[in-house]
């Protein structure tokens, strides 16, 4: 029942939020998310880390005529992401405390979003999965469109703003999910059930596998977002309100890589082996392209958005390096690192977007060139920025390092062309450090800009949103064993499964 509770509590909260007085909405949302977090604790305690398969399985009939069932469960891949969703939702509710416009609608949609995101990670029935996948789009669309920045015309003469970004996000994802729907229906037609665990077929011919693999892959690649399908991301981030950016980067992007590992890797091992290097190539492109684009930005939020693209590249690179080229022996480090990186990116980027929100609330702009000397006017804020940025650039001792390190170790182990990827990624490491430090250099050090000399330092509410994430970042960086313990059994079985079944 634990997993269903994680779906039902926020959903219930979402309905109640529409009927309570406007003043009570925020406390209600807070209580709901806290209760959900408490409800998730048993998952952590009773999860058996030695089992690689699904746990907390719940199966109920839904529409048996069409082979549609309500099946939810978690394993080492989805558990961290479920926890991340629940945790970030709570933090986002606190971060949204200053929302004044259509309060009921905002919090109601947010809770609905939380329910849908959780659903995506725990659904094993593909129909259910698709329902959640689409359901998630709607609140996201409205949250960006209505509470985002007002429409305006940018320097290139194109209309920007919340509605534009929302529609862009919506259409992008929808195109992807339509492709996925085709694949899902195809497989359903073959097997007569939506339970994806029964869709494996060792004799499926390779061309067919590759076609289905690609249909799924494009849907997920858009979510990651993978170059060249990434342009929705900077816009969505820049226009969205802070809390929405946080879940967008923290949770939604992970659905792409999650989906690939969950479905592509499991269902089509032969195609996965065939396409592994392609995934790696796109991973490397993401790393370099994201890094260089981030370097060019003067809008702090856009910079963080592009850094997300770059960091998700590490996840892709890591998960593509599951076997050594030529020898065909298993490599676990890459996938372990990639999965850990998903969680780490979720926490680190969440911190970064929260921090960008802090400065935007005060200065009403995010233009790096119009800031300066913030280390002196806002010292505590600068401390948190330092923590988040150094974690993001992969400083050892903070969580960003261990994920990237495992990814690079695994990638080198995969040999062959992967070694060139490591070389390119190593260049990326240097440039990554470059744009992070350059931002600190311009916005935080040096002469105080008189424009922002009187900005008040970070307040208690904002500190409360940052501290839990900061502690996680330090903890996993100093001692990653507890986090890795949850995922290692599952990752091992995923790799072994591909190598057994594949080619």
């Amino acid at each position: 029942m634990t997993l269903s509770l994680l779906l039902l509590i926020p959903l219930l909260g979402s309905v109640i939020a529409l009927f309570v007085p406007e003043k009570a909405v925020k406390p209600l949302a807070l209580v709901i998310t806290i209760v959900t977090l408490i409800a998730a604790i048993p998952l952590l305690i009773y999860f058996d880390t030695s089992i690689s398969g699904f746990q907390f399985l719940e199966e109920r009939y839904w529409i048996p005529t069409f082979g549609i069932n309500y099946i939810v469960a978690v394993d080492g891949l989805s558990l961290p992401l479920v926890i991340l969703t629940v945790l970030l939702s709570l933090i986002c509710i606190i971060a949204s405390w200053n929302i004044e416009k259509h309060v009921r609608g905002y919090f109601s949609l947010f809770l609905l979003l939380q329910s849908a995101m959780t659903g995506v990670f725990i659904a094993l029935d593909m129909f259910l999965f698709y329902v959640f996948w689409e359901l998630m789009l709607l609140p996201m669309y409205f949250l960006i469109g209505i509470w985002g920045a007002p429409p305006r015309v940018d320097a290139d003469g194109r209309t920007r703003g919340g509605p534009y970004a929302a529609i862009k996000f919506f259409i992008y994802t929808l195109i992807g999910s339509l492709l996925m729907l085709v694949a899902i229906l195809w497989l359903w037609n073959q097997n007569g059930t939506f339970d994806f665990r029964q869709w494996t077929d060792p004799d499926r011919n390779i061309q067919f596998q590759v076609i289905l693999w690609t249909l799924f892959f494009i849907a997920f690649a858009i979510k990651i977002p993978m170059f060249p399908f990434h342009t929705w991301l900077p816009d969505a981030h820049v226009e969205a309100p802070t809390a929405v950016s946080v879940v967008l980067a923290g949770v939604l992007l992970k659905m792409g890589t999650y989906g690939i590992i969950r479905f592509n890797y499991f269902l089509f091992p032969d195609a996965t082996v065939m396409m592994a290097i392609t995934v790696g190539v796109f991973g490397v492109i993401n790393i370099i392209y994201g890094t260089l684009c981030a370097m060019a930005q003067t809008d702090m939020k856009r910079l963080v958005a592009y850094s997300s693209i770059s960091h998700m590249g590490y996840v892709m690179l890591g998960m593509s390096a599951f076997m050594s080229v030529g020898r065909g022996s298993a490599v676990y480090e890459g996938l372990l690192g990639g999965t850990l990186q998903m969680w780490n990116h979720g926490t680190i980027t969440a911190m970064m977007f929260l921090l960008v929100g802090v400065i935007y609330d005060r200065a009403h702009h995010r233009d790096i060139t119009r800031l300066g000397g913030l280390a002196i006017t806002m010292p505590i804020y600068t401390g948190f920025v330092g923590l988040a940025f150094f974690a993001s650039l992969g400083l050892p001792g903070l969580s960003g390092f261990i994920g990237e390190a495992l990814v690079l170790l695994g990638t080198w182990k995969a040999a062959g062309i992967y070694r060139i990827f490591v070389g390119i990624a190593a260049v990326g490491i240097v440039i990554t450090a470059g744009y992070h430090l350059w931002l600190i250099h311009r916005a935080f050090l040096g002469k105080e800009n008189p424009e922002c000399a009187k900005l008040p330092d970070i307040n208690l509410r904002e500190i409360i949103t940052l501290v839990p994430l900061g502690l996680i970042v330090i903890w996993i960086g100093v001692y990653p064993a507890p986090a890795l313990r949850y995922i290692s059994a599952t990752m091992q079985s995923i790799v072994d499964n591909i190598l057994q079944a594949g080619l």
């Binding site: 959903l11 979402s14 309905v15 529409l18 058996d48 880390t49 030695s50 690689s52 839904w62 309500y70 259509h102 009921r104 609608g105 329902v131 709607l138 669309y141 409205f142 469109g145 209505i146 194109r158 529609i167 919506f170 259409i171 992008y172 342009t231 929705w232 260089l292 684009c293 060019a296 676990y332 480090e333 372990l336 280390a375 002196i376 400083l395 050892p396 390092f401 170790l409 990638t411 182990k413 040999a415 190593a426 260049v427 490491i429 240097v430 430090l437 350059w438 250099h441 050090l445 040096g446 002469k447 001692y479 064993a481 507890p482 313990r485 949850y486 995922i487 290692s488 059994a489 091992q492």
Partner: protein, 689 residues
């Protein structure tokens, strides 16, 4: 237990200091001093038996699960994962160990760090970020100690990077300070430059670690060593790994071509320059190469490259010190040059003298930097053209610095003599064995020795001798307080004694200790080449005589030009050759300019890519949207509603969404969400039944 006592007191002191330091008496500066004293005493308890009894100290090691496996939280509900027990669990262990080399280095690091912390309590007095300074230096000490006792490359790398962070923060220290009369711009630039330049080396080092890990399945020195001995690592992989390790060291130890950050790092407070940018952190690169060689990671060809880089840097950096007018920059170039000596020594098979020089250099260079700090504190400028005659005003600083200067030039009887002389002897011996081109390292090093003697005494004379050039500054100058002069005096004792200790207990008998515990002993048995090399006896004599002659003539020339002013310094810049050399030196051989150009290019590319992303890739996407809207409109006019829906779903969604937004704006958002909810709840209830 002892390892914990060495490692953790500075860490705890740093954390407490950071959190509540400002509220403690004396702003908590005693906390790090106390913490480092505990580390120092523990290090001493390891060092004394090693030094006086030449005993193989009980080999200390500690190993805990870090990334995989049971670990501290093991057992119970969180029991070990599937991979925990296996190979990954074994590889990712946090491990420490000590041997002769690490014990000697521990002793050096804790001693220097302790004295510098005491010095800082006087030097940094009154700084608004006083307690944060101590938190950072104390954390740095923790990281350095961790690096020295790490038994594997992964943790060495972690501590290596943590030191980089401390270095970044401390170089830019003044740019974080509110209302201090300092220029905040230069420190912030210098900090960023240092971090990014060393990051190049760091990335290379990480790839080296990946190569060795992938070939051997281990991060530990011992594990990799035995795998290499068993032939598990191919020659090409080993060569690549060793050259990348060398590149890592080139970054951290500021060797050519990644030396550019160290002179700029002088923007940091002087105690920081002494601790991090002279005595300890920059030595970490040498330490890493030394460790790697002792475990047989460096094949012959990599050693030759090492020797080449080291000896070239030694001369190259010394040349820039000749023309520098910034007091601290002279010392910075001299540090680069001396680190070059050490690297060259490791390369030509002088493993022991190289690491011995690391220890002696740490003491006398820390002394020189603290001395320069004492002078800066008194005159508030770094330009030597505004000093002069300070000998009378600051006698303690003068005499202690004189000892440091004599040690640096390798004057007989001072510590630098013992170590540098050995280095020269070994490199000459190496040349004698190889003939012709083999003499290049020796020739570069001996010329660097002459340069060293000249620029050191040029600096001493300009600062302390002659007549004061700036009377206002001279009048206000005074000797520093006891908290600053006492560390200077103690360090000057070390600057002499650490050399003579060679006669009491030769350094090789220290660093070879614990060799037995290293599983076969990479050095002890000499089974793996690249450790020590036998050198002809005549090399010692020739090198000693030559080094004394060039040092004395360097010192003599400095006195003739700058003290007695018999020859004008102008003479060096006369003529076309003199002028162009001087121009090259003042412009630092244009290496910085080259990097600036490179960075500019990277930024240009990134700007172009940013525009490409917005104007091209994004436009393509947008035009698809626009096109579908036009198509759908056309279709709408033709009233092919049904086909429109199927063929141009996208466009319809745009319109639909627009309608929905309009709907919300007319206050019907609630209705919409409610509808969505109700539908969903019906589904859920259906499921529940």
């Amino acid at each position: 237990m002892k390892i914990l006592l060495i490692l953790f007191p500075p860490l705890f002191a740093s954390v407490i200091q950071l959190l509540i330091g400002r509220k403690l008496p004396r702003k908590g500066d005693w906390l790090p001093i106390l913490g480092i004293t505990i580390s120092w005493i523990t290090a001493l308890s390891l060092f004394i038996p090693t030094f006086f009894l030449k005993q193989t100290v009980p080999h200390i090691s500690l190993s805990v699960d870090w990334a995989f496996g049971g670990g501290a939280l093991g057992g119970g509900a969180l029991g070990g994962g599937a991979l925990g027990g296996g190979a990954l669990g074994e590889a990712f262990k946090l491990g420490f160990f000590t041997d002769g080399l690490s014990i000697a280095t521990l002793f050096m690091v804790t001693t220097v760090s302790l004295l510098i912390h005491i010095f800082s309590s006087g030097y940094m007095h009154g700084n608004p970020l006083y307690s944060r300074f101590f938190a950072q230096t104390s954390f740095f000490t923790f990281a350095m100690l961790g690096l020295v006792i790490s038994d594997n490359l992964l943790f060495l790398f972690i501590f290596w990077e943590l030191m980089g962070l401390c270095s970044y923060l401390l170089i830019g220290f003044y740019s974080w300070c509110p209302d201090v009369g300092y220029d905040r711009d230069a420190p912030r630039k210098a900090g960023m430059k240092a971090f990014l330049t060393t990051r190049v080396g760091d990335a290379a080092l990480f790839v080296a670690i990946a190569i060795l890990y992938s070939a051997t399945g281990s991060f530990t020195f011992r594990g990799i060593h035995s795998a290499i001995a068993n032939g598990a690592v191919s020659q090409s992989a080993l060569l690549a790994a060793s050259l990348l390790i060398l590149l890592g060291a080139i970054g951290k130890s500021a060797q050519f071509p990644l030396h550019v950050w160290l002179p700029d790092a002088m923007e940091g407070p002087s105690p920081v320059s002494a601790l991090i940018h002279a005595a300890t952190m920059v030595a970490a690169g040498i330490y890493l190469v030394g460790r790697s060689i002792s475990f047989g990671f460096f094949p012959e060809s990599a050693l030759i490259v090492t020797a080449g880089v080291g000896s070239f840097t030694a001369l190259f950096a010394a040349s820039m010190a000749l023309a520098a007018m910034d007091f601290k920059k002279v010392l910075a170039y001299s540090t680069i040059s001396q680190l070059g000596f050490m690297l060259a020594s490791l390369g030509v098979g002088g493993w022991t003298p190289g690491l011995f020089h690391l220890v002696t250099h740490a003491f006398f260079k820390a002394l020189l930097f603290l001395g320069s700090g004492s002078v800066l504190h008194a005159v508030h400028t770094r330009d030597m053209r505004e000093m002069g005659g300070l000998k009378q005003k600051m006698p303690i600083t003068y005499f202690t610095m004189l000892i440091g200067a004599l040690a640096l030039t390798g004057f007989p009887g001072f510590s630098g003599f013992f170590s540098k002389d050995e280095i020269l002897a070994v490199s000459l011996g190496w040349g004698m064995k190889r003939g012709a081109a083999g003499y290049i390292p020796f020739l570069l090093l001996i010329s660097a020795t002459a340069f060293t003697a000249f620029y050191t005494f040029r600096m001493m004379i300009l600062v302390f001798h002659g007549k004061p050039k700036d009377h206002h500054r001279f009048e206000h100058a005074h000797e520093s307080s006891a908290s600053m002069t006492v560390p200077l005096i103690i360090l000057s004792l070390f600057a002499i004694a650490s050399g003579w200790s060679w006669l009491r207990t030769p350094f090789e008998s220290i660093v070879s200790l614990g060799g037995g515990a290293l599983g076969g002993g990479a050095l002890g048995s000499g089974a793996l080449g690249g450790g020590e090399e036998e050198i002809p006896h005549s090399a010692h004599t020739v090198a000693m005589v030559l080094s004394i002659i060039v040092s004395l003539s360097g010192i003599g020339l400095a006195f003739i030009v700058y003290h007695f002013e018999k020859i004008s310094a102008e003479i060096f810049t006369r003529g076309i050759i003199g002028r162009s050399i001087h121009k090259a030196l003042v412009n630092l051989w244009w290496v910085d300019d080259f990097y600036l150009w490179l960075i500019k290019k990277v930024i240009e590319i990134s700007k172009a890519l940013g525009i490409f992303d917005r104007r091209v890739i994004d436009r393509i996407v947008d035009s698809f949207g626009t096109a579908s809207v036009i198509v759908s409109k056309g279709a709408g006019i033709a009233d092919f509603r049904g086909i429109d829906y199927v063929a141009n779903g996208t466009a319809d969604l745009i319109r639909d969404a627009g309608d929905k937004i309009r709907m919300i704006q007319t206050g019907r958002l609630g209705d919409y969400i409610l509808g969505l909810m109700v539908a969903f709840i019906i589904l859920v209830v259906w499921v529940a039944i």
